[in-house]
Protein backbone atom coordinates (compact mmCIF):
# COMPACT_ATOMS: atom_id res chain seq x y z
CA UNK A 1 0.00 0.00 0.00
CA UNK A 2 1.49 3.32 -1.02
CA UNK A 3 1.56 5.99 1.68
CA UNK A 4 0.59 9.58 1.00
CA UNK A 5 3.48 12.00 1.36
CA UNK A 6 3.64 13.94 4.63
CA UNK A 7 5.47 16.76 2.85
CA UNK A 8 4.89 17.52 -0.80
CA UNK A 9 6.54 20.45 -2.52
CA UNK A 10 6.22 20.96 -6.25
CA UNK A 11 7.93 23.60 -8.30
CA UNK A 12 8.54 25.91 -5.35
CA UNK A 13 9.92 29.32 -6.27
CA UNK A 14 10.93 31.84 -3.65
CA UNK A 15 12.64 35.24 -3.86
CA UNK A 16 13.67 37.24 -0.82
CA UNK A 17 12.74 40.90 -1.00
CA UNK A 18 15.47 42.90 -2.69
CA UNK A 19 17.59 39.81 -3.44
CA UNK A 20 19.31 39.81 -6.86
CA UNK A 21 18.23 36.25 -7.69
CA UNK A 22 15.63 33.77 -6.40
CA UNK A 23 16.64 31.49 -3.53
CA UNK A 24 14.44 28.68 -4.84
CA UNK A 25 13.70 28.19 -8.51
CA UNK A 26 11.49 25.18 -8.91
CA UNK A 27 12.31 22.89 -5.99
CA UNK A 28 10.52 19.55 -5.69
CA UNK A 29 10.55 17.44 -2.56
CA UNK A 30 8.27 14.66 -1.46
CA UNK A 31 8.73 12.99 1.91
CA UNK A 32 6.81 9.95 3.13
CA UNK A 33 5.72 9.50 6.75
CA UNK A 34 8.48 7.92 8.84
CA UNK A 35 11.27 8.71 6.37
CA UNK A 36 14.64 10.19 7.39
CA UNK A 37 15.84 12.43 4.59
CA UNK A 38 19.21 14.19 4.64
CA UNK A 39 19.15 17.48 2.72
CA UNK A 40 22.60 18.47 1.52
CA UNK A 41 23.98 21.30 -0.59
CA UNK A 42 26.58 24.06 -0.81
CA UNK A 43 26.31 27.31 1.13
CA UNK A 44 23.51 29.42 -0.32
CA UNK A 45 21.96 26.57 -2.32
CA UNK A 46 18.54 27.09 -0.69
CA UNK A 47 18.33 24.46 2.08
CA UNK A 48 17.19 26.78 4.87
CA UNK A 49 14.73 28.48 2.54
CA UNK A 50 13.22 25.13 1.58
CA UNK A 51 13.04 24.15 5.27
CA UNK A 52 11.10 27.34 6.00
CA UNK A 53 8.70 26.57 3.16
CA UNK A 54 8.04 23.06 4.56
CA UNK A 55 7.30 24.65 7.93
CA UNK A 56 5.02 27.37 6.42
CA UNK A 57 7.27 30.12 7.70
CA UNK A 58 7.72 31.32 4.14
CA UNK A 59 5.12 31.13 1.42
CA UNK A 60 6.39 30.17 -2.04
CA UNK A 61 5.79 32.76 -4.76
CA UNK A 62 5.03 29.91 -7.17
CA UNK A 63 4.42 26.21 -6.85
CA UNK A 64 2.54 24.01 -4.41
CA UNK A 65 3.40 23.11 -0.87
CA UNK A 66 1.54 20.66 1.34
CA UNK A 67 2.69 19.72 4.83
CA UNK A 68 0.78 17.10 6.83
CA UNK A 69 -1.83 17.12 4.05
CA UNK A 70 -2.51 20.81 4.65
CA UNK A 71 -1.99 23.60 2.18
CA UNK A 72 0.79 25.90 3.39
CA UNK A 73 -0.98 28.81 1.68
CA UNK A 74 -4.14 28.39 3.76
CA UNK A 75 -3.81 30.85 6.68
CA UNK A 76 -5.97 28.57 8.86
CA UNK A 77 -3.45 25.74 8.41
CA UNK A 78 -0.26 27.74 9.00
CA UNK A 79 -0.19 27.48 12.83
CA UNK A 80 -0.95 23.76 12.66
CA UNK A 81 1.85 23.20 10.16
CA UNK A 82 4.35 25.15 12.24
CA UNK A 83 3.64 22.90 15.22
CA UNK A 84 3.26 19.62 13.36
CA UNK A 85 6.32 20.09 11.14
CA UNK A 86 8.62 21.78 13.65
CA UNK A 87 11.79 23.50 12.50
CA UNK A 88 14.99 23.84 14.50
CA UNK A 89 16.66 27.00 13.18
CA UNK A 90 20.22 27.23 11.99
CA UNK A 91 20.89 30.02 14.50
CA UNK A 92 19.34 29.29 17.92
CA UNK A 93 19.12 33.00 18.74
CA UNK A 94 16.42 33.28 16.07
CA UNK A 95 14.32 30.80 18.00
CA UNK A 96 14.84 31.49 21.70
CA UNK A 97 11.89 33.59 22.93
CA UNK A 98 11.81 33.39 26.73
CA UNK A 99 14.45 34.58 29.15
CA UNK A 100 14.51 31.43 31.30
CA UNK A 101 15.45 28.06 29.81
CA UNK A 102 12.42 26.05 30.99
CA UNK A 103 10.02 28.83 30.08
CA UNK A 104 11.45 28.89 26.60
CA UNK A 105 10.85 25.15 26.20
CA UNK A 106 7.31 25.54 27.60
CA UNK A 107 6.44 28.33 25.15
CA UNK A 108 5.44 26.02 22.29
CA UNK A 109 3.35 23.55 24.34
CA UNK A 110 1.60 26.45 26.10
CA UNK A 111 0.39 27.70 22.74
CA UNK A 112 -1.05 24.27 22.00
CA UNK A 113 -3.56 24.72 24.82
CA UNK A 114 -2.40 21.61 26.73
CA UNK A 115 -3.06 20.96 30.43
CA UNK A 116 -0.37 22.18 32.80
CA UNK A 117 0.47 18.56 33.70
CA UNK A 118 1.03 17.71 30.05
CA UNK A 119 3.11 20.84 29.52
CA UNK A 120 5.31 19.92 32.46
CA UNK A 121 5.73 16.36 31.19
CA UNK A 122 6.80 17.59 27.75
CA UNK A 123 9.18 20.20 29.10
CA UNK A 124 10.82 17.69 31.45
CA UNK A 125 11.22 15.17 28.65
CA UNK A 126 12.63 17.69 26.16
CA UNK A 127 15.12 19.00 28.73
CA UNK A 128 16.11 15.46 29.59
CA UNK A 129 16.60 14.45 25.95
CA UNK A 130 18.78 17.46 25.28
CA UNK A 131 20.76 17.18 28.52
CA UNK A 132 19.65 20.60 29.72
CA UNK A 133 17.86 19.55 32.93
CA UNK A 134 20.58 20.98 35.16
CA UNK A 135 20.34 24.33 33.36
CA UNK A 136 16.53 24.68 33.43
CA UNK A 137 16.39 27.68 35.74
CA UNK A 138 19.18 29.58 33.97
CA UNK A 139 18.87 32.61 31.74
CA UNK A 140 18.55 31.51 28.10
CA UNK A 141 20.97 34.16 26.91
CA UNK A 142 23.68 33.21 29.38
CA UNK A 143 24.11 29.76 27.85
CA UNK A 144 27.16 28.71 25.86
CA UNK A 145 26.82 28.35 22.07
CA UNK A 146 26.21 24.61 22.18
CA UNK A 147 23.82 24.89 25.13
CA UNK A 148 21.75 27.39 23.11
CA UNK A 149 21.60 24.97 20.22
CA UNK A 150 20.32 22.28 22.58
CA UNK A 151 17.70 24.70 23.86
CA UNK A 152 16.43 25.38 20.34
CA UNK A 153 16.14 21.63 19.81
CA UNK A 154 14.33 21.13 23.13
CA UNK A 155 11.76 23.75 22.12
CA UNK A 156 11.00 21.84 18.92
CA UNK A 157 10.90 18.43 20.64
CA UNK A 158 8.42 19.73 23.22
CA UNK A 159 5.93 20.27 20.39
CA UNK A 160 6.06 16.48 19.81
CA UNK A 161 5.83 17.12 16.06
CA UNK A 162 5.06 14.55 13.38
CA UNK A 163 7.87 15.99 11.27
CA UNK A 164 11.09 17.41 12.69
CA UNK A 165 13.20 19.59 10.40
CA UNK A 166 16.74 20.12 11.68
CA UNK A 167 18.64 22.97 10.05
CA UNK A 168 22.26 22.25 11.01
CA UNK A 169 21.11 21.53 14.53
CA UNK A 170 24.34 19.73 15.51
CA UNK A 171 26.86 22.26 14.20
CA UNK A 172 27.80 23.57 17.66
CA UNK A 173 27.65 20.32 19.63
CA UNK A 174 30.68 18.46 20.96
CA UNK A 175 31.38 15.02 19.42
CA UNK A 176 29.73 13.14 22.28
CA UNK A 177 26.70 15.44 22.22
CA UNK A 178 26.37 14.96 18.47
CA UNK A 179 26.48 11.19 18.83
CA UNK A 180 23.88 11.33 21.63
CA UNK A 181 21.61 13.56 19.56
CA UNK A 182 21.87 11.24 16.55
CA UNK A 183 20.96 8.29 18.77
CA UNK A 184 17.99 10.27 20.09
CA UNK A 185 16.91 11.04 16.51
CA UNK A 186 17.20 7.36 15.66
CA UNK A 187 14.78 6.51 18.47
CA UNK A 188 12.35 9.25 17.49
CA UNK A 189 12.47 8.09 13.89
CA UNK A 190 11.95 4.46 14.96
CA UNK A 191 8.85 5.54 16.85
CA UNK A 192 7.48 7.12 13.69
CA UNK A 193 8.75 10.70 13.56
CA UNK A 194 9.63 11.92 10.07
CA UNK A 195 13.02 13.64 9.92
CA UNK A 196 14.47 16.14 7.48
CA UNK A 197 18.10 16.73 8.40
CA UNK A 198 20.10 19.57 6.89
CA UNK A 199 23.82 19.32 7.54
CA UNK A 200 27.32 19.80 6.16
CA UNK A 201 28.73 17.04 8.36
CA UNK A 202 28.79 13.86 6.30
CA UNK A 203 29.41 11.65 9.35
CA UNK A 204 26.01 12.73 10.67
CA UNK A 205 23.89 11.33 7.87
CA UNK A 206 24.84 7.68 8.37
CA UNK A 207 21.30 6.82 9.52
CA UNK A 208 19.36 8.71 6.86
CA UNK A 209 17.40 6.46 4.53
CA UNK A 210 17.49 8.94 1.69
CA UNK A 211 19.69 11.79 0.52
CA UNK A 212 18.56 14.85 -1.43
CA UNK A 213 21.06 17.34 -2.85
CA UNK A 214 20.31 21.00 -3.57
CA UNK A 215 22.09 23.22 -6.03
CA UNK A 216 21.13 26.79 -6.97
CA UNK A 217 17.61 26.57 -5.58
CA UNK A 218 16.68 23.13 -6.92
CA UNK A 219 16.85 19.52 -5.80
CA UNK A 220 19.29 18.08 -8.30
CA UNK A 221 19.73 14.58 -6.92
CA UNK A 222 17.52 12.44 -4.74
CA UNK A 223 18.18 8.80 -3.94
CA UNK A 224 19.55 6.12 -1.68
CA UNK A 225 22.71 6.61 0.44
CA UNK A 226 24.34 3.55 -1.16
CA UNK A 227 23.99 5.13 -4.61
CA UNK A 228 25.16 8.48 -3.30
CA UNK A 229 28.37 7.07 -1.83
CA UNK A 230 29.00 4.99 -4.92
CA UNK A 231 30.23 8.15 -6.64
CA UNK A 232 27.54 10.80 -6.81
CA UNK A 233 29.00 12.56 -3.77
CA UNK A 234 32.14 13.40 -5.76
CA UNK A 235 30.15 15.06 -8.51
CA UNK A 236 28.75 17.53 -5.97
CA UNK A 237 32.03 18.12 -4.14
CA UNK A 238 31.17 16.38 -0.85
CA UNK A 239 33.75 14.58 1.26
CA UNK A 240 33.44 10.90 1.95
CA UNK A 241 33.63 10.13 5.69
CA UNK A 242 36.97 8.46 6.54
CA UNK A 243 35.19 5.45 8.00
CA UNK A 244 33.39 4.77 4.71
CA UNK A 245 36.55 5.21 2.65
CA UNK A 246 38.39 2.72 4.85
CA UNK A 247 35.46 0.33 4.65
CA UNK A 248 35.47 0.43 0.84
CA UNK A 249 39.19 -0.33 0.72
CA UNK A 250 38.98 -3.19 3.20
CA UNK A 251 36.02 -4.76 1.40
CA UNK A 252 37.59 -4.43 -2.04
CA UNK A 253 40.75 -6.16 -0.73
CA UNK A 254 38.58 -8.83 0.89
CA UNK A 255 40.21 -8.09 4.22
CA UNK A 256 36.88 -7.97 6.04
CA UNK A 257 33.72 -9.97 5.32
CA UNK A 258 30.75 -8.46 3.46
CA UNK A 259 28.14 -7.47 6.00
CA UNK A 260 30.62 -5.86 8.40
CA UNK A 261 29.22 -2.45 9.37
CA UNK A 262 31.33 0.53 8.24
CA UNK A 263 32.13 1.46 11.84
CA UNK A 264 35.74 1.74 13.07
CA UNK A 265 35.26 -0.68 15.99
CA UNK A 266 33.38 -3.27 13.92
CA UNK A 267 36.04 -3.21 11.22
CA UNK A 268 38.76 -3.56 13.87
CA UNK A 269 36.92 -6.60 15.33
CA UNK A 270 36.60 -8.13 11.87
CA UNK A 271 40.37 -7.78 11.45
CA UNK A 272 40.92 -9.30 14.90
CA UNK A 273 42.58 -6.11 16.11
Amino acid sequence: MGKDPIISIRGAVYSYKGAPSPALCGADLEVLPGEWVALLGANGSGKSTLAKICNALLEPTQGDCFSLSMDCRDPACVPLIRQGAALVFQNPDDQIVASIVEEDVAFGPENLGLTSGEIRRRVDRALELTGLSEHRRRGSHSLSGGQKQRLALAGALALEPKVLILDEATSMLDPEGRAALLECLRELNASGMTLIQITHIMEDIARAGRIAVMQSGRIVWDGLPADFWRGEYLRFGFDEPGELALYRELISRKMIPEGTRPIAEDMAEALCL
Partner: protein, 281 residues
Amino acid sequence: MSLTAEKITYSYNEGTAAERPALRGVSVFVGRGGWVSVVGHTGSGKSTLAQHLNLLLTPKSGKIEIDGKTAVPGSSGARELRRKVGLVFQYPETQFFAETVREEIGFAPSNWGLKKDELEDCVRAAAAAAGLTPEVLESNPFRLSGGQRRRVAIASVIAMKPDYLVLDEPTAGLDAAGVRDLTRMLNEIRAGGLAVVQVTHDLKSALEHSDMMLVLEKGREIYAGTPEETASYLAEHPVKGLVLPPLVRFAGRMRQSGFDIPIISGIPAMLGALSEGARRI
Protein backbone atom coordinates in the same frame (compact mmCIF):
# COMPACT_ATOMS: atom_id res chain seq x y z
CA MET B 1 56.45 37.62 19.19
CA SER B 2 53.64 35.73 20.87
CA LEU B 3 50.20 35.79 22.40
CA THR B 4 50.13 34.35 25.90
CA ALA B 5 47.38 33.73 28.42
CA GLU B 6 48.71 32.85 31.84
CA LYS B 7 46.59 31.02 34.41
CA ILE B 8 43.35 32.77 33.49
CA THR B 9 40.49 32.48 35.97
CA TYR B 10 37.09 33.93 35.19
CA SER B 11 33.52 33.75 36.52
CA TYR B 12 30.37 35.17 34.96
CA ASN B 13 28.21 37.30 37.28
CA GLU B 14 30.94 37.36 39.87
CA GLY B 15 29.82 38.02 43.41
CA THR B 16 26.14 37.40 42.69
CA ALA B 17 23.95 34.37 43.39
CA ALA B 18 24.20 33.54 39.70
CA GLU B 19 28.02 33.39 39.74
CA ARG B 20 29.35 30.76 37.30
CA PRO B 21 33.00 29.86 37.20
CA ALA B 22 33.94 29.47 33.53
CA LEU B 23 37.75 29.30 33.54
CA ARG B 24 40.02 28.01 36.30
CA GLY B 25 43.68 28.62 35.66
CA VAL B 26 43.91 28.15 31.88
CA SER B 27 47.08 29.00 29.93
CA VAL B 28 47.65 29.32 26.19
CA PHE B 29 50.73 30.17 24.18
CA VAL B 30 50.90 30.82 20.47
CA GLY B 31 53.93 32.16 18.61
CA ARG B 32 53.93 33.78 15.16
CA GLY B 33 53.08 31.22 12.51
CA GLY B 34 51.63 28.82 15.08
CA TRP B 35 48.21 27.14 15.10
CA VAL B 36 46.66 26.18 18.42
CA SER B 37 43.33 24.34 18.58
CA VAL B 38 41.20 24.53 21.71
CA VAL B 39 38.79 21.63 22.20
CA GLY B 40 36.39 20.62 24.96
CA HIS B 41 32.78 19.78 25.78
CA THR B 42 29.83 22.14 25.42
CA GLY B 43 30.19 24.76 28.14
CA SER B 44 33.82 23.91 28.92
CA GLY B 45 34.94 27.54 28.59
CA LYS B 46 36.29 27.77 25.04
CA SER B 47 34.41 30.90 23.97
CA THR B 48 35.15 32.54 27.30
CA LEU B 49 38.85 31.88 26.67
CA ALA B 50 38.62 33.22 23.10
CA GLN B 51 37.12 36.45 24.39
CA HIS B 52 39.96 36.84 26.87
CA LEU B 53 42.56 36.48 24.11
CA ASN B 54 41.06 39.46 22.33
CA LEU B 55 40.73 41.38 25.63
CA LEU B 56 36.93 41.50 25.49
CA LEU B 57 36.77 39.92 28.93
CA THR B 58 39.05 40.77 31.83
CA PRO B 59 40.35 37.84 33.89
CA LYS B 60 39.70 37.67 37.63
CA SER B 61 43.26 36.45 37.97
CA GLY B 62 46.04 35.68 35.54
CA LYS B 63 47.17 37.84 32.64
CA ILE B 64 47.22 38.22 28.89
CA GLU B 65 50.47 39.19 27.19
CA ILE B 66 50.72 40.29 23.59
CA ASP B 67 54.19 40.53 22.06
CA GLY B 68 55.66 40.67 25.53
CA LYS B 69 53.40 43.47 26.80
CA THR B 70 50.88 42.79 29.53
CA ALA B 71 47.41 44.01 28.63
CA VAL B 72 46.12 46.29 31.36
CA PRO B 73 42.33 46.39 31.02
CA GLY B 74 40.90 49.74 29.96
CA SER B 75 44.30 51.37 29.31
CA SER B 76 45.11 53.03 26.00
CA GLY B 77 47.86 50.44 25.63
CA ALA B 78 45.21 47.71 25.80
CA ARG B 79 43.30 49.27 22.90
CA GLU B 80 46.50 49.29 20.88
CA LEU B 81 47.23 45.66 21.75
CA ARG B 82 43.66 44.59 21.03
CA ARG B 83 44.04 45.64 17.39
CA LYS B 84 46.61 42.91 16.97
CA VAL B 85 44.12 40.18 17.86
CA GLY B 86 41.14 39.56 15.58
CA LEU B 87 38.22 37.48 16.89
CA VAL B 88 35.67 35.69 14.73
CA PHE B 89 32.68 34.98 16.99
CA GLN B 90 30.94 31.62 17.34
CA TYR B 91 27.73 33.06 15.90
CA PRO B 92 28.70 35.50 13.12
CA GLU B 93 25.67 37.76 13.66
CA THR B 94 27.17 38.73 17.04
CA GLN B 95 29.75 40.87 15.27
CA PHE B 96 27.64 42.36 12.46
CA PHE B 97 26.57 45.98 12.60
CA ALA B 98 26.71 47.33 9.04
CA GLU B 99 24.03 47.62 6.35
CA THR B 100 26.13 46.07 3.62
CA VAL B 101 28.79 43.41 3.45
CA ARG B 102 31.16 45.95 1.86
CA GLU B 103 30.79 48.26 4.85
CA GLU B 104 31.10 45.36 7.27
CA ILE B 105 34.36 44.10 5.78
CA GLY B 106 35.69 47.60 5.14
CA PHE B 107 35.11 48.90 8.66
CA ALA B 108 38.63 48.51 10.04
CA PRO B 109 40.54 49.47 6.86
CA SER B 110 38.31 52.56 6.41
CA ASN B 111 40.10 54.05 9.42
CA TRP B 112 43.53 53.68 7.86
CA GLY B 113 43.30 56.70 5.57
CA LEU B 114 43.33 54.63 2.38
CA LYS B 115 42.27 55.99 -1.00
CA LYS B 116 38.88 54.82 -2.23
CA ASP B 117 40.23 52.26 -4.67
CA GLU B 118 42.79 51.00 -2.17
CA LEU B 119 39.99 50.42 0.31
CA GLU B 120 37.94 48.60 -2.32
CA ASP B 121 40.95 46.38 -3.17
CA CYS B 122 41.35 45.61 0.49
CA VAL B 123 37.66 44.65 0.86
CA ARG B 124 37.68 42.52 -2.28
CA ALA B 125 40.84 40.69 -1.27
CA ALA B 126 39.42 39.84 2.17
CA ALA B 127 36.10 38.76 0.62
CA ALA B 128 37.88 36.53 -1.88
CA ALA B 129 40.05 35.03 0.86
CA ALA B 130 36.86 33.95 2.65
CA GLY B 131 35.31 32.61 -0.55
CA LEU B 132 32.76 35.38 -1.12
CA THR B 133 31.82 36.51 -4.61
CA PRO B 134 31.77 40.28 -5.32
CA GLU B 135 27.93 40.27 -5.82
CA VAL B 136 27.50 39.58 -2.11
CA LEU B 137 29.22 42.88 -1.24
CA GLU B 138 25.99 44.82 -1.84
CA SER B 139 23.91 42.49 0.37
CA ASN B 140 22.89 43.10 3.94
CA PRO B 141 25.00 40.71 6.05
CA PHE B 142 21.94 39.72 8.08
CA ARG B 143 20.15 38.66 4.88
CA LEU B 144 22.49 35.91 3.81
CA SER B 145 22.56 32.15 4.27
CA GLY B 146 24.29 30.76 7.37
CA GLY B 147 27.48 29.79 5.59
CA GLN B 148 27.65 33.12 3.75
CA ARG B 149 27.36 34.96 7.08
CA ARG B 150 30.22 32.90 8.47
CA ARG B 151 32.35 33.88 5.47
CA VAL B 152 31.55 37.59 5.95
CA ALA B 153 32.54 37.33 9.62
CA ILE B 154 35.85 35.72 8.66
CA ALA B 155 36.48 38.25 5.86
CA SER B 156 35.88 41.25 8.10
CA VAL B 157 38.41 40.02 10.65
CA ILE B 158 40.96 39.14 7.94
CA ALA B 159 40.56 42.68 6.61
CA MET B 160 41.76 44.03 9.97
CA LYS B 161 45.14 42.43 9.18
CA PRO B 162 45.61 41.17 12.72
CA ASP B 163 48.81 39.49 13.90
CA TYR B 164 46.79 36.92 15.82
CA LEU B 165 43.57 35.41 14.57
CA VAL B 166 41.19 33.79 17.08
CA LEU B 167 38.39 31.80 15.44
CA ASP B 168 35.49 30.38 17.46
CA GLU B 169 34.04 27.36 15.59
CA PRO B 170 34.93 28.83 12.18
CA THR B 171 33.97 25.74 10.19
CA ALA B 172 30.47 25.40 11.66
CA GLY B 173 28.02 26.02 8.83
CA LEU B 174 30.64 26.00 6.08
CA ASP B 175 30.20 23.56 3.20
CA ALA B 176 32.98 21.11 2.26
CA ALA B 177 34.62 23.54 -0.17
CA GLY B 178 34.40 26.29 2.47
CA VAL B 179 36.20 24.16 5.03
CA ARG B 180 38.96 23.26 2.56
CA ASP B 181 39.37 26.88 1.45
CA LEU B 182 39.47 28.14 5.02
CA THR B 183 42.19 25.66 5.95
CA ARG B 184 44.23 26.63 2.91
CA MET B 185 43.77 30.34 3.61
CA LEU B 186 44.79 29.97 7.27
CA ASN B 187 47.94 28.10 6.25
CA GLU B 188 48.80 30.80 3.72
CA ILE B 189 48.50 33.66 6.15
CA ARG B 190 50.30 31.62 8.78
CA ALA B 191 53.22 31.32 6.40
CA GLY B 192 53.24 35.14 6.43
CA GLY B 193 53.71 35.12 10.21
CA LEU B 194 50.14 35.33 11.48
CA ALA B 195 49.20 33.02 14.36
CA VAL B 196 45.93 31.11 14.64
CA VAL B 197 43.96 30.05 17.69
CA GLN B 198 40.97 27.96 16.68
CA VAL B 199 38.18 26.81 18.97
CA THR B 200 36.58 23.76 17.41
CA HIS B 201 34.43 20.68 17.91
CA ASP B 202 35.95 19.21 14.79
CA LEU B 203 38.63 17.03 16.35
CA LYS B 204 39.63 15.65 12.97
CA SER B 205 40.53 19.08 11.66
CA ALA B 206 42.25 20.04 14.92
CA LEU B 207 44.39 16.90 14.86
CA GLU B 208 45.28 17.32 11.20
CA HIS B 209 46.04 21.02 11.03
CA SER B 210 47.18 22.47 14.32
CA ASP B 211 50.62 22.22 15.85
CA MET B 212 49.41 22.41 19.44
CA MET B 213 46.16 21.48 21.16
CA LEU B 214 44.57 22.51 24.43
CA VAL B 215 41.88 20.33 26.00
CA LEU B 216 39.43 21.95 28.41
CA GLU B 217 37.02 20.28 30.81
CA LYS B 218 34.72 22.28 33.08
CA GLY B 219 36.91 25.35 32.76
CA ARG B 220 40.13 23.50 33.57
CA GLU B 221 43.04 22.83 31.29
CA ILE B 222 43.36 19.07 31.40
CA TYR B 223 45.82 18.47 28.61
CA ALA B 224 48.08 20.45 26.29
CA GLY B 225 50.29 18.89 23.66
CA THR B 226 50.91 18.23 20.00
CA PRO B 227 48.10 16.57 18.02
CA GLU B 228 49.87 13.18 18.24
CA GLU B 229 50.31 13.49 22.00
CA THR B 230 46.75 14.69 22.44
CA ALA B 231 45.31 11.85 20.37
CA SER B 232 47.31 9.31 22.39
CA TYR B 233 46.17 10.95 25.62
CA LEU B 234 42.52 10.97 24.57
CA ALA B 235 42.76 7.34 23.45
CA GLU B 236 43.60 6.39 27.02
CA HIS B 237 41.79 9.01 29.10
CA PRO B 238 38.13 9.59 28.34
CA VAL B 239 37.35 13.32 28.47
CA LYS B 240 33.82 14.66 28.81
CA GLY B 241 32.27 15.47 25.45
CA LEU B 242 35.16 14.30 23.28
CA VAL B 243 35.20 11.27 21.00
CA LEU B 244 38.24 10.70 18.77
CA PRO B 245 37.52 10.58 15.03
CA PRO B 246 36.87 7.05 13.67
CA LEU B 247 40.16 6.70 11.80
CA VAL B 248 42.14 7.75 14.86
CA ARG B 249 40.24 5.17 16.92
CA PHE B 250 40.99 2.57 14.24
CA ALA B 251 44.70 3.46 14.23
CA GLY B 252 44.58 3.18 18.03
CA ARG B 253 43.25 -0.39 17.74
CA MET B 254 46.02 -1.22 15.26
CA ARG B 255 48.66 0.16 17.62
CA GLN B 256 47.23 -1.85 20.52
CA SER B 257 47.62 -4.94 18.34
CA GLY B 258 51.27 -4.14 17.81
CA PHE B 259 51.24 -2.31 14.49
CA ASP B 260 53.87 0.38 14.32
CA ILE B 261 51.93 3.28 12.79
CA PRO B 262 51.41 6.85 13.97
CA ILE B 263 48.13 7.49 15.81
CA ILE B 264 47.25 10.06 13.13
CA SER B 265 47.65 8.05 9.93
CA GLY B 266 46.07 8.14 6.50
CA ILE B 267 44.20 5.20 5.02
CA PRO B 268 47.07 4.18 2.66
CA ALA B 269 49.46 3.89 5.62
CA MET B 270 46.94 1.77 7.53
CA LEU B 271 46.29 -0.51 4.57
CA GLY B 272 50.01 -0.84 3.91
CA ALA B 273 50.72 -1.89 7.48
CA LEU B 274 47.74 -4.26 7.57
CA SER B 275 48.63 -6.06 4.35
CA GLU B 276 52.29 -6.42 5.30
CA GLY B 277 51.15 -7.82 8.62
CA ALA B 278 53.73 -5.47 10.05
CA ARG B 279 53.16 -6.18 13.71
CA ARG B 280 55.98 -5.48 16.07
CA ILE B 281 55.28 -8.55 18.17
